[in-house]
Amino acid sequence: MTEAAPQPVATASPEPPSETNGRPIFAAEDVVKRFGGIRAVNGATMSVREGSITALIGPNGAGKTTFFNVITGFYRPDGGRATFQDKPVLGRPPYAIARLGMVRTFQITKALRRMSVIDNMMLAAPDQPGERLGNVVFRPRASRRRERAVRERAIELLEVFNLTKLAEDYAGTLSGGQRKLLELSRALMARPRFLLLDEPMAGINPTLGRRLLDHMQRLRAEEGVTFLFVEHDMEVVMNHSDRVVVMAEGRVIAQGEPHEVRRDQAVIDAYLGATA
């Protein structure tokens, strides 16, 4: 469908956005999350442009992962607003947010260990009527029909990520790098419009990391997926993202294009230091 398109197209947008000029697909305003007396996220305001690959950086303890957890519904927010495609998401349960097309991965991979790789993949497919008990009993045909399509899509994606040979293996037997790939491809099975990746490059070798980055570029180009990813490697951030959001002490202290952000005095003071 998107193959014929001459340039990257975000399907939800009426006109094809250039790489960095899309309208915001996601916006957060004054998001607050407290743990006891600690304000882990302390009024974070930021936005992610549609079709962009946006990096979220900041020192350890800046609240990046907490922010992720709040906007994807895993933590209950203590304040603020957030919208995805103009729909409010803050305070909604994680599964409802995922169904809107805003899908996340975790810093520590969550492979479903005692399930096969292919089952991991097929689980993530949306719109499977067979996931409802009533449909399983009364509409088994619809479930089976959807299941065939889901399996096809899963095999396609496994091929893209070089996991085909492992399809029938337990996900728990995969190496750390393979699990990262599985988690990304599984997230893609959910047909996301906006993918949030928490340190996708952590703990995997540079070759695999480069492949992961290539996949992100391609997904953005071919399917118009928007990315927000937490990353510590500044080289990756500067070379592979077109927007950067910087957090420190629970706030967003800067956002913009990589070259702007790296010259920002507040960012240098808080995070980059003299080395950047």
Binding site: T72, G73, F74, P93, P94, Y95, A98, R99, V103, R104, T105, F106, K110, A111, L112, R113, R114, M115, D119, M122, L123, A124, P126, Q128, G130, E131, R132, L133, V136, P140, S143, R146, E147, Y170, G172, T173, R186, A187, M189, A190
Partner: protein, 327 residues
């Protein structure tokens, strides 16, 4: 020396062991426990929730049926589905708050609910007959049992075991349930259950309402507990609170461990092995009295479980690899 020999405790009373009455009784217990532990299997083996209140569900099912028949004078056959619905409602009532708790707290909450229920049954004499219990609910079943018996006689079995019809029906139901649950587990619905067992957060991040699935799993376990309760009641012909002590849930877990996690057929085999061992001990000619035999049953059960853990920790039907890969 020669005087000691006849009392050596290792002779087996083969005659009793071969008696059909004995096997019928063991078979009914094993079948009832299979249905009982199928509920634990869907919770523990497939959803990862630790339901320790299965005896409570069994109690609700049995008492509801008996009260509907004796007090409300409903037909036995109508009382069965209503009792199942009541038990499911009770499961949802416990599940709605308790399934939001962490695994270990859920175990505490369910065992407490089951015990509260048993103590209620002990004290609400007007409703449950208290310690005297309820009987006289099984006339409709007796008619069916009699016609099965005469059927058996017409097949050429003179003087068939009176409990044999119950044996046939309990295993018929157990096998149908196992086939249905096994098929259910292979559907996308079953896949979501397993995903919830593996990692609830991962399932939620992929758009699955993990809580709703845990609730459904508990509701199914409750229904299975109720069905087990019916057979328990028909087997004993009366219902008293002592039939629903928490020990029965724990024995259900022993069946689960024997058979292996995440296998419904394993539950049936585990239950058969468990009850054969447990009741078979009575027929070893041991120089012990009844009380000592009761104690010995648990000692042997403990030994068997220890040996199982040492040599086949995944149970008879469990998958070793799944065991190793689990957290």
């Amino acid at each position: 020396m020669t005087e000691l020999l006849p009392t050596l405790p290792l002779a087996i009373d083969l005659e009793a062991f071969a008696s059909l009455g004995f096997w019928t009784g063991v078979g009914i217990l094993a079948g009832t426990y299979t249905i009982f532990a199928l509920g634990l299997q869907i919770n523990v083996g497939f959803t990862g929730i630790f339901n320790f209140g299965q005896a409570g569900f069994m109690a609700i099912g049995a008492y509801s049926m008996a009260i509907l028949v004796t007090d409300a004078e409903l037909s036995f056959w109508l009382a069965l589905p209503i009792a199942i619905l009541i038990t499911i409602a009770f499961g949802l009532l416990i599940g709605l708050p308790a399934l939001r708790l962490r695994t270990d707290y859920l175990a505490i909450a369910t065992i407490a609910a089951a015990e509260a229920l048993r103590l209620f049954a002990l004290n609400a004499r007007d409703l449950t007959g208290g310690a005297q219990g309820i009987f006289g609910f099984d006339n409709d079943w007796d008619d069916v049992s009699d016609s099965i018996l005469s059927g058996l006689e017409s097949l050429g079995w003179t003087n068939p075991e009176t409990l044999f019809p119950l044996f046939l029906v309990v295993w018929g139901v157990a096998i149908v349930l196992i086939i249905a649950l096994t098929a259910l587990q292979k559907t996308p619905w079953g896949r979501v259950l397993r995903a919830v067992r593996e990692d609830e957060d991962a399932a939620r991040a992929l758009g699955k309402n993990a809580f709703a699935y845990k609730l459904q799993s508990l509701a199914i376990a409750a229904a299975l507990g109720a069905i087990a309760g019916f057979f328990l009641a028909l087997n004993l012909r009366f219902i008293i609170p002592d039939e629903f002590l928490p020990i029965f849930t724990f024995l259900g877990y022993a069946v689960l461990v024997l058979g292996g996690l995440a296998s419904y057929w394993g539950v049936a085999v585990g239950s058969i092995v468990f009850w054969t061992l447990f009741e078979g001990l009575r027929f070893l000619e041991l120089p012990f009295d009844e009380v000592q035999i009761r104690a010995l049953q648990f000692i042997v059960l403990g030994l068997v479980l220890i040996l199982l853990m040492a040599f086949r920790p995944q149970g008879m039907f469990g998958k070793r690899q799944e065991m190793v890969l689990g957290d």
